[in-house]
């Protein structure tokens, strides 16, 4: 079954169309990675799915239901979660408060959910009262992912989760992503330097110039010489 289906979506900013009719399918339970150069429309697609940008044409289906143009808080209620690439934590809030905000739409106690996140990212459990603004890049990425997981989303969208992270941290983050996926969460990743990401992806798509130009299984994309030369840095 398809968790997320993008049908011929056209979107962009007021004075500039970025996506010129994208099709994409994210099957349930899989990890899909979108790769492509700067300006290919990867982040625009994420923002459009999440209702931050309104598409001018096309449809977005989540579990077969049309979510095109829904406001972000509605999208969250449907079971999608999104971790932007930058500025993805609330710097003046503590780690625990950041996580609590992830479950804003829920009523009642969050203890079990917080516990679950702290098990996934033990570093966060040790520093619950620390302000997110004071944390390192890797820790922030964990706070952001933890926040997104507070509602047990069915689809987690990650925008360049490894950008600007040291290699050892990148490995940790991807190992966590694999664990989250094991637990049943479908994952859509956007990456520029996507070798790590493709290694654990079921599928990979290549974007260029606002269009999808290539799609294959993750390992096959990794093995493809031309893709490697053009998009994966040789």
């Amino acid at each position: 079954m398809s968790r997320l289906t993008i049908e011929r979506v056209v979107s962009g900013y007021a004075d500039m169309e970025v996506l010129h009719g994208i099709d994409l399918c994210v099957p349930e339970g899989e990890i899909v990675t979108i790769i492509g150069p700067n300006g290919a429309g990867k982040s625009t697609l994420m923002k459009t799915i999440f209702g931050l940008l309104k598409p001018t044409a096309g449809r977005i289906l989540f579990d077969e239901e049309d979510i095109t143009g829904l406001s972000p808080d509605r999208v969250v209620r449907r079971g999608l979660a999104y971790v932007p690439q930058v500025e993805n934590v609330f710097p003046s809030l503590t780690i625990q408060e950041n996580l609590e905000m992830g479950a804003f739409i829920l009523k009642g106690h969050l203890r079990d959910r917080l516990q679950h996140i702290y098990e996934l990212f033990p570093v966060l459990g040790d520093r619950q009262k620390a302000r997110a603004g004071k944390m390192s890049g890797g820790e922030r990425q964990m706070v952001a992912m933890g926040r997104a997981l507070m509602l047990d989303p069915r689809l987690l969208m990650l925008d360049e989760p490894s950008a600007a992270l040291a290699p050892n941290l990148t490995a940790t983050i991807f190992e966590r992503i694999a664990a989250i996926n094991e637990a049943g969460v479908t994952i859509l990743i956007v990456e520029q330097n996507a070798k790590e990401s493709l290694k654990l992806s079921d599928r990979g798509c290549v974007f260029a110039g606002g269009l999808k130009c290539f799609e294959d299984s993750g390992p096959a994309l990794l093995a493809n010489e031309e893709i490697g030369r053009l998009y994966l840095g040789g």
Partner: protein
């Protein structure tokens, strides 16, 4: 009397007026940090609160609330009830304004919103003038005896103690709200990063509603307290304080409600103490001088973070 010996007394006045400025400044700061624009109608919102309390006062007395003075204070329970209801009324008025005007401009440039607030300021002030006239109105004509504290060389009225206590209590409540309630945390989150708040699922429209309610309630209380301290209210009351309030907010770091509290006290005390050294006619310019000084040396304010 030489200037220095007057300073303790001026400090008292400064703390009293600074408390009121702080309450006014909190609203400006919250609106700025959550909605992203400077609300130049905030002073006139204070005046609205002051006049609503004035209108409610006889109603409360008629409902049977005792109007006899509370201990040494110059007012009774009817006044306290009017104060609280004025806060409610002002909040409703501001929410209505948001629905009619500001919400429709939410996605436009922030300067457009500031222009709109200037228009609101003008219309609101003159609405008060239309209904109540330009002449001063009084909550009470009771003459109050000041408490003399000779050791410190100061005299202070019980009403002034009430003003400071009310401001401290409200600031404390605000702190608890921001720190420990879900909505308070959501307000801080939205202030940090509105776009992220939206993708997190925070209902930012509800956050905005709360921002208006808190800002308007504190403004209304501040307006009534101005009337209590000055002994009269006029439609100009809020506009006259706007510059001081903004100086306080910028001094403390615009967007930071705690900064507004600190800034309010500093500006209030500076304005009063300045009268020991320069002509009273220039008291309003002291706030302006503080503002310019702050912009020159540290535009992010005392407690501000870089934005």
């Amino acid at each position: 009397m030489d200037a220095l010996s007057r300073i303790p007394q001026l400090l008292v006045y400064g703390i009293v007026s600074g408390s009121i400025l702080s309450l006014g400044g909190i609203g400006v700061s919250l609106t700025y940090s959550i909605l992203g624009f400077s609300n130049f109608a905030h002073g006139d919102t204070m005046a609205l609160g002051a006049y609503l309390a004035l209108a409610l006062l006889p109603v409360m007395a008629q409902l049977g609330l005792p109007s006899g003075s509370l201990g040494p204070l110059s007012f009774g329970w009817d006044f306290v009830a009017s104060l609280l209801l004025a806060a409610v009324g002002t909040s409703l008025a501001v929410i209505l304004l948001d629905r009619l005007l500001f919400a429709r401009l939410r996605d436009t440039h922030r300067i457009t919103l500031m222009i709109a607030t200037v228009g609101v300021a003008l219309a609101l002030r003159n609405l008060l003038q239309f209904v109540w006239g330009p002449q001063p109105h009084y909550y009470t004509t009771t003459i109050q005896r000041a408490i003399l504290i000779p050791q410190l060389g100061i005299r202070i009225k019980p009403d002034q103690i009430f003003i400071v206590a009310a401001a401290v209590l409200l600031a404390l409540l605000l702190h608890l709200f921001l720190r420990y309630t879900k909505m308070g945390k959501a307000m801080r989150a939205t202030s940090d990063n509105t776009a992220l708040a939206r993708v997190t699922g925070i209902n930012t429209e509800r956050v905005i509603l709360w921002t208006w309610v808190i800002g308007a309630s504190l403004a209304a209380v501040a307006g009534v307290l101005v009337g209590l301290e000055n002994k009269f209210i006029t439609p100009e009351l809020g506009w006259q304080m706007l510059l001081s309030i903004f100086a306080a907010v910028i001094l403390g770091g615009i967007g930071n409600p705690y900064g507004a509290i600190v800034g309010g006290l500093v500006v209030g005390i500076s304005e009063e103490v300045s009268t020991a050294f320069i002509s009273t006619g220039y008291k309003p310019a002291v706030a302006f001088a503080i503002l310019i000084l702050m912009l020159l040396i540290r535009p992010t304010g005392l407690l501000g973070r870089r934005r």
